[in-house]
């Protein structure tokens, strides 16, 4: 075995190891963080009114928040458009990626092929707008820190390398898929030797590790936001929240 083959073998092991580490970090990290939110009590009614007065209503409200970003729409129409397109395009792209993880590939995923490039550009444009907005408005520049630029930059780099690998320097699809299915079935094979694909893949692993421990967790956290997910049921007889203190009533 010559040196370069040996090195590549070593690199393959590292990449495979890192893949499993990233998957574990994502899953365990998410469970740990969201469990933290779930088990922490909310000691008082916190809901922002006007609010629905039933559990069902508040579930509808939080779903509406997740899908349509109504509060952002109230706040800033341009930002809403940028953010909404950014997220929709992200979902579309993630959905299209099922073609790399499934065998046989569902027909609906294959339909995405015709519009995949469109969503790729859309995502890139939205990311650029959000990046520009952070820098161009004095107010957003003031509040933006390194983690904000890092998260946006990481997503943009993933999108950029992904677009390149899909539409410019193609990676051999069969190899990519063999690698992905190997990882998923716990019988890993070496990744395709394609630098651009490897960059794309490694950046995704970084994202998976970073996700549960960063502001990107807003994706899960929003479901636990008491100001949005509580119903307003103050006058419901017997309704009480968790009491933190112990000051007794004296009369």
């Amino acid at each position: 075995m010559d040196t370069s083959t040996a090195l590549w073998l070593l690199a393959s092991y590292l990449i495979i190891g890192l893949s499993y580490f990233a998957a574990l970090a994502l899953v365990i990290g998410l469970i740990w963080r969201l469990w933290g939110y779930l088990r922490t009590p909310m000691p008082w009614p916190e809901v922002t009114t006007p609010a629905p007065e039933t559990e069902g209503g508040s579930i509808a409200r939080i779903i509406g928040d997740v899908v349509l970003f109504p509060n952002l729409f109230k706040a800033d129409k341009l930002l809403w458009a940028g953010a909404w397109i950014f997220h929709i395009a992200l979902w579309a792209i993630l959905f299209r990626h099922l073609r790399y993880f499934t065998y046989p590939v569902p027909q609906t995923v294959l339909y995405m092929e015709t519009v995949a490039l469109f969503f790729g550009y859309l995502f890139g444009l939205a990311a650029l707008y959000l990046f520009w907005r952070r820098l161009a408005l004095p107010r957003t520049l003031y509040i933006s820190g390194l983690p904000d630029f890092f998260a946006l930059g990481l997503l943009a780099a993933i999108a950029g390398s992904g677009l390149l690998v899909s539409y410019w320097a193609h990676a051999y699809l069969v190899d990519v898929k063999a690698f992905m299915l190997g990882l998923l079935t716990l019988s890993p094979v070496p990744p395709p030797f394609h630098p651009l694909f490897l960059i794309h893949f490694l950046l995704v692993l970084v994202l998976m590790i970073y996700f549960p421990f960063s502001k990107l967790l807003h994706a899960g956290g929003i479901f636990f936001s008491p100001s949005r997910n509580q119903p307003y049921e103050i006058q419901k007889p017997g309704k009480r929240y968790v009491n933190q203190g112990n000051y007794p009533i004296q009369y």
Binding site: P50, R134, S225, Q235
Partner: protein, 482 residues
């Protein structure tokens, strides 16, 4: 005319009653600070008399406790993406241009400390993760800017995740309380409640005197024998008004009296608890609970069937917490907690006031309605006060849509800021409301909140808006055919 340094106030004119976000002016309001609390007040309300020696450790321990016990705080520490939607929504930012008054920047003051002590990234790489030590400088920023927040929650209406800066401000103040750092105004007011039963420090004899004086006054002026009962055992209703209603906003007090008189319902106030406003809300959980307990104690002592909360904004925020804070209220008649506007609307719907209201009595007024922050954004009271106003006058106009209902601006003095040493921030914070009132040209600004009623006349005077500020029930009382 100004009696104070106007540096932090931005004077650009409004357009269509709305303020455009001003240019950023760093540190504009950094010098506007509440006076620190006095040892005797701290002692009276269970806070350390002065800052404790090992304050950093204590503060971090306290913050850890809060994170374990408050879902909102825990979630809001993590999920802000700093999108900037809230940056131009706070009245204090609009009025001062100080970037630390952008809700996200205010919340970041606490988040930085949270990251430093409670996240792995912050412990290892504080510079890379926007984390910061809780040092002297940070504590000073906390003290300044968490007391330039009126806990009005306007920002939470625009946040895609509903992040509520009020919850964050309350947590920061709770932490500061635990190490003996609080403001003179708030601690003094809470101490007065324990001493006299109300925020103004009115002793029981003065309260009784004043109620008798009101009776004579109404008899003399209108020839009506209306009673303002005090401490009457067995009355049906205990009215818990803000104490200012009995001294500063007497028209509101007379309004309660006329209404109950006309309905023929027996009612009373209590000298043990003649204050609905709860300044514990601006301080810490312990005092919030302890102050609120007095309401149930008074009600059970007098044996009333129903408690009605008077026209007071923060009182209603505390009021809706009552079963949680102080135990079940099952021994009272539902609905509870019960707000005076809800009571009036129920009476209107029952027809109890049918034919007894002459709207034309208010025809000289062009009325507009200022939603106090807490009834609108925490207490679901958006329609009820409007229904009362529509039932009592013919000429009612709404201010621009971005300044009313859940998007209402704070009067500028809520959250424990109704004190003279922070006048610049009060006038700056009141500007968005003043501009909206000016835009509609109303001559009567109705609002069911004692803090608003104290703050808004000064704001309107400062911004040169000729309008009378008064209660919602004042309008109704004026229109009642007695």
């Amino acid at each position: 005319m100004a009696k104070f340094d106007e540096t932090p106030i931005i004077k650009d004119p409004a357009q269509e009653g709305l303020l455009l976000p001003p240019d950023m002016r760093e540190h504009a309001s950094v010098d506007v600070r509440c006076w620190p609390g006095k040892p005797k007040d701290h002692q009276a309300i269970g806070l350390p008399e002065a800052r404790v020696p090992d304050w950093q450790d204590k503060a971090i321990t306290k913050l850890g406790e809060l994170l374990e016990n408050n879902k909102a705080l825990r979630v809001y520490m993590d999920i802000c993406v700093r999108c900037g939607a809230c940056t131009d929504k706070c009245q204090y930012y609009l009025g001062t241009g100080d970037p630390q008054n952008m809700p996200v920047a205010r919340a970041e003051l606490l988040r930085k400390v949270y990251r430093r002590y409670f996240t792995l990234g912050g412990r290892l790489f504080p510079n890379l993760t926007d984390a910061a030590d809780l040092d002297e400088e940070m504590l000073e920023k906390w003290y300044t800017y968490f007391y330039q927040c009126s806990e009005c929650r306007r920002c939470s209406v625009f946040c895609p995740y509903g992040i509520d800066t009020a919850e964050i401000t309350m947590a920061a103040r709770e932490v500061m309380c635990s190490i003996g750092v609080a403001t003179k105004y708030v601690t003094e007011v809470v101490a007065k409640v324990y001493e006299t039963g109300n925020n103004l420090g009115i002793p029981a004899p003065a309260w009784i005197d004043n109620c008798e004086f009101l009776e004579e006054d109404v008899e003399e002026e209108e020839g009506l024998a209306i009673r303002f009962p005090v401490d009457e055992k067995g009355a049906e209703i205990l009215l818990v008004p803000p104490s200012a209603d009995n001294f500063a906003n007497v028209d509101t007090m007379i309004g309660y009296g006329k209404l109950f008189h006309l309905l023929g319902i027996s009612w009373t106030t209590s000298t043990y608890c003649n204050e609905a406003g709860n300044f514990g809300l601006f301080l810490n959980y312990h005092n919030l609970q302890k102050v609120n307990a007095r309401i149930l104690e008074a009600a059970r002592d007098l044996g009333v069937k129903t408690i009605i909360w008077g026209e007071c904004g923060h009182a209603w925020r505390a009021g809706i917490l009552t079963p949680t804070l102080n135990g079940p209220m099952d021994d009272f008649d539902p609905p509870y907690p019960y707000h005076i506007s809800q009571f009036i609307v129920d009476m209107l719907r029952k027809g109890a006031l049918a034919g007894k209201i002459d709207k034309c009595a208010n025809d000289d007024l062009l009325v507009t309605y200022h939603d106090p922050c807490n009834p609108a954004r925490a207490g679901q009271l958006l329609e009820e006060p409007r229904e009362v106003i529509r039932a009592s006058c013919n000429r009612f106009v709404e201010m621009p849509a971005d300044t009313i209902r859940e998007k209402t601006f704070c009067c500028g003095a809520g959250g424990g800021l109704l004190t003279d040493e922070v006048m610049p921030i009060r006038m700056a914070g009141g500007k968005p409301r003043a501009m909206a009132v000016k835009h509609v040209g109303a001559n009567y600004l109705a609002t069911p909140c004692a803090i608003c009623k104290a703050q808004l006349p000064e704001v309107m005077h400062y911004w040169d808006v000729p309008v009378k500020v008064g209660g919602v029930i004042d309008l109704l009382a004026n229109a009642l055919k007695m």
